[in-house]
């Protein structure tokens, strides 16, 4: 009898213990948060905006014609004295449990980034087991995070995905923006001799972006675009870098994947376009006559993408000359980026950290005054070596042969 009972106990226990129903969460009880926006209001409280996916409205495709009537995401906002409080307060508006495991973007409002800094915002994200620290972080340029989170986007229906994909494609093709992860920011914040950079995102057109109409037009009245790189110091946003200087920063950080570099030729401005295919930037700290110096060497390889002028590309000598111009152009960009950072006395490149790694004894002397005394005066020697490997499907441009 007891033997039989024992045998029975095995399946019974398995059913009870192996099914794993303890604190289960059903999919239709979860609100998938795709993006979080963080601001501060006049009362000094944190305001969180939670972009929640409406699963039914994301799937659509051809059958639905113009898409469904209601938007693919819904945004809830809540305020609180800290981030966990904000999240818990938001539950008063949402019928489901906020679920952060699929959060792709954290947007931080420019105002809070400038005034209070981002330090206090990050711990809750770092600590929570659901939230990923590989989540991309951006700053809402000239806007509150709430505004940005509220803007609807065409093509990629979930705005958070649109931002993420846009950042990836622009980092890859123009090199003026960067996809920065929460963990990158954290690392830069805690490393002495290194300050974080974060890409800025802007929404044009204001409130109109909240309406479904926005994505029913061929040219949306309100669009989300990457705009500038935010430079931080001591956790606070202090300046923006745009265009060439932004790309200079990306060069030094060795994050350029592809980019276009245009140079003048035959006195015609920007008439030859060089498309970067791969590059490698080496930062070497040296100490010369007791002073710290940085050597930057950029090696870049690519093709000719466009010729708006005549040049004999069959001649290796011409190629050499073009390469020299490219070298100069890139050197100029890099120096602009460095100048921007030195102006702001913020070592966003981690030069200090590389001194720490290579000259630990000397670093002790610089450590405490690095950002304010040594870094702005730091001598940076930039050398660029570019290689034009191929010239596309044509050799000489047809402009060389026009009558």
């Amino acid at each position: 009898m007891i033997r039989k009972l024992q045998k029975l106990l095995v399946p019974v226990l398995s059913v009870l213990l192996l099914s794993g129903c303890w604190s289960k969460k059903e999919l239709n009880d979860l609100a998938l948060v795709s993006a979080i926006g963080l601001d501060k209001n006049e009362k000094g409280k944190y305001v969180g905006s939670f972009q929640i996916v409406n699963p039914g409205n994301v799937v659509g495709g051809e059958n639905t014609g113009g898409g469904s009537k209601s938007p693919p995401v819904t945004v809830y906002t809540a305020e609180g004295n800290n981030l966990v409080g904000v999240s818990r307060n938001a539950s008063a508006h949402v019928s489901r449990i906020l679920y952060y495991a699929h959060t792709n973007i954290v947007v931080i409002g420019e105002e809070i980034a400038r005034e209070e800094g981002i330090m206090k915002l990050l711990d809750a994200l770092d600590r929570d087991p659901n939230f990923r620290i590989t989540t991309t972080i951006v700053i809402a340029h000239d806007a509150t995070a709430e505004q940005l989170i509220n803007t609807l986007t065409p093509i990629d229906k979930i705005p958070a995905n649109k931002i993420l994909k846009m950042l990836r494609s622009t980092e890859k093709s123009s090199g003026e923006h960067l996809e920065i992860k929460t963990s990158d920011v954290l690392e830069a914040l805690v490393t002495k001799g290194k300050e974080p950079v974060v890409t800025g995102i802007r929404a044009t057109g204001g409130k109109i972006g909240m309406e479904m109409e926005n994505i029913q037009r061929t040219e949306p009245s309100s669009a989300i675009e990457a705009n500038g790189i935010a430079i931080f110091k001591a956790g606070k946003l202090i300046d923006w870098a745009h265009g060439r200087s932004a790309r200079g920063i990306v060069w030094v950080l060795n994050r350029i994947k592809e980019a276009d570099v245009s140079v003048d030729w035959n006195n015609e401005k920007d008439s030859i376009v060089f498309e970067v295919i791969r590059q490698n930037t080496k930062v070497t700290p040296i100490i010369k006559n007791g002073d710290p110096e940085i050597n930057i060497h950029v090696e870049v390889e690519g093709d000719i993408g466009e010729m708006q002028t005549a040049a004999d590309l069959n001649n290796p000598e011409t190629i050499k000359k073009i390469e020299e111009k490219i070298n100069k152009q890139i050197k100029n960009e890099v120096e602009k980026g460095i100048a921007k950072a030195q102006e702001n006395k913020s070592d966003i490149f981690g030069f200090g950290d590389s001194f720490h790694n290579n000259y630990p004894n000397e670093w002790k002397k610089y450590e405490n005054e690095w950002n304010d005394t040594y870094f702005p005066e730091l001598k940076v020697n930039v050398t660029v070596q570019s290689f034009i490997r191929r010239t596309g499907l044509r050799t000489k441009p047809f402009l060389s042969n026009t009558k």
């Binding site: 213990l17 604190s23 087991p129 590989t134 963990s183 690392e187 590389s354 790694n357 290579n358």
Partner: protein, 372 residues
């Protein structure tokens, strides 16, 4: 002592899994900052010496459990008391690792599940395994070993493939000189995990071929030490020293950083599997050592009758030894090494070996005298 035998390969996998258990998951030796890997390697070097001490004792008494030869060496009463203390030590250690396990699972995945339930489920499994005996445990070890290395190699390739490794995080090497590293070695890595090899003194008598024990032990310690070194070096190169330091489980954060082709991400399950497999072996071995020690001291004929009562004791201890994870870790890193590991892993075995050596010398002198 049950009548069972394990072979050399089984001993090897048990040692490796045991050494990796929990040591692989926590920020081991992180007080040495960038040089954590060095501290682990040095700890391993000392680990070889410790192992040689344990092995020398085993060679004097190849068929006896430590609880038996302690009585031979120190006399009946003191030896018995010391054997009892060792059995308690092993059971306490198993309760500590069980608590580690519960804390990890609760922090990582099961926030709302009570600690007791999580520990209870694993403890049932462990009690069952120990009830079945060392042979079953050894065979389980073989399966888990191959699984673990499959995961580990895949994980390692994925980490390298996603381009996360940044070697500069390991610099500067020896910024403050060798002293801080040695301090970490002396206060931490000698004991956890290398000194924990003491538990295998309870396992050696089951080995079917006593001659290979030394070779197997040294190679298993070398493999696990090098693996731990790689794990810590990878953690630091991927996360940087600061994040590694702040992480309860740096390996988890490292694995979470893997992002390949937009779909190979959130591979937390690798971590959880590694956690469960290695920790299961670790607790089971500790618990097994405690149970056969007790059985031997109290002359219980069927040792596995002790499994369930002692298992419940371990379970209850595991829940009640600390009120928070901070308290638990603090005890584990600051109190237990000095108060328990140092005497039980180093001082007492050294004394035992000394006395055993003198005794054997006297004996051989006596016997050679009688020969003449």
């Amino acid at each position: 002592m049950e009548k069972a035998k394990i072979d050399a390969v089984q001993l090897f996998v048990l040692i490796v899994l045991f050494e990796l258990g929990s040591a692989m998951l926590i920020p081991l030796a992180i007080d040495a900052d960038e040089n954590a890997w060095l501290a682990i390697l040095l700890g391993m070097a000392f680990g070889f010496f410790l192992f040689l001490i344990y092995h020398a004792l085993y060679k004097y008494y190849p068929d006896m459990l430590p609880t038996q030869y302690m009585q031979k060496i120190l006399g009946k009463y003191i030896g018995w008391a010391l054997g009892f203390a060792y059995s308690i030590y092993f059971m306490y250690a198993s309760a500590r690792v069980l608590r580690d396990f519960g804390e990890m699972l609760l922090s990582v995945a099961y926030r709302e599940t009570p600690l007791f339930i999580v520990n209870l489920l694993l403890m049932f499994l462990i009690m069952y395994t120990v009830y079945q005996g060392i042979e079953v445990l050894a065979r389980t070890g073989e399966i888990l070993f191959s699984l673990l290395y499959l995961f580990a190699i895949t994980g390692f390739i994925l980490i390298v493939a996603s381009g996360l490794i940044d070697i500069t995080h390991l610099k500067p090497v020896l910024e403050e000189g060798i002293l801080p590293v040695l301090k970490v070695v002396v206060t931490e890595t000698i004991y956890v995990p290398f000194g924990e090899m003491i538990v295998f003194t309870m396992i050696f008598p089951y080995l079917n071929n006593p001659k290979v024990a030394r070779k197997i032990g040294i190679s298993a310690i070398a493999l696990s030490g090098i693996n731990l070194t790689i794990v810590m070096a990878v953690n630091i190169t991927v996360l940087g020293v600061d994040l590694t330091k702040r992480s309860q489980f740096p390996l988890l954060t490292t694995i979470q950083s893997i992002q390949i082709a937009n779909f190979l991400e959130r591979l937390d399950v690798f971590f959880v599997l590694a956690l469960i497999m290695t920790i299961f072996i670790k607790i089971t071995l500790y618990f097994y050592a405690g149970v056969i020690g007790m059985g031997n001291l109290f002359k219980v004929e069927k040792v596995n009758q002790l499994v369930y009562p002692l298992g419940l004791v371990v379970l209850l201890i595991s829940v009640s030894i600390a009120s928070s994870i901070s308290e638990h870790i603090k005890e584990g890193l600051k109190v237990v090494p000095i108060l328990l590991h140092l005497p039980f892993q180093i001082i007492i075995p050294l004394i035992l070996l000394g006395i055993a050596f003198l005794k054997s010398k006297k004996k051989s002198k006596g016997s050679s005298a009688s020969d003449a």
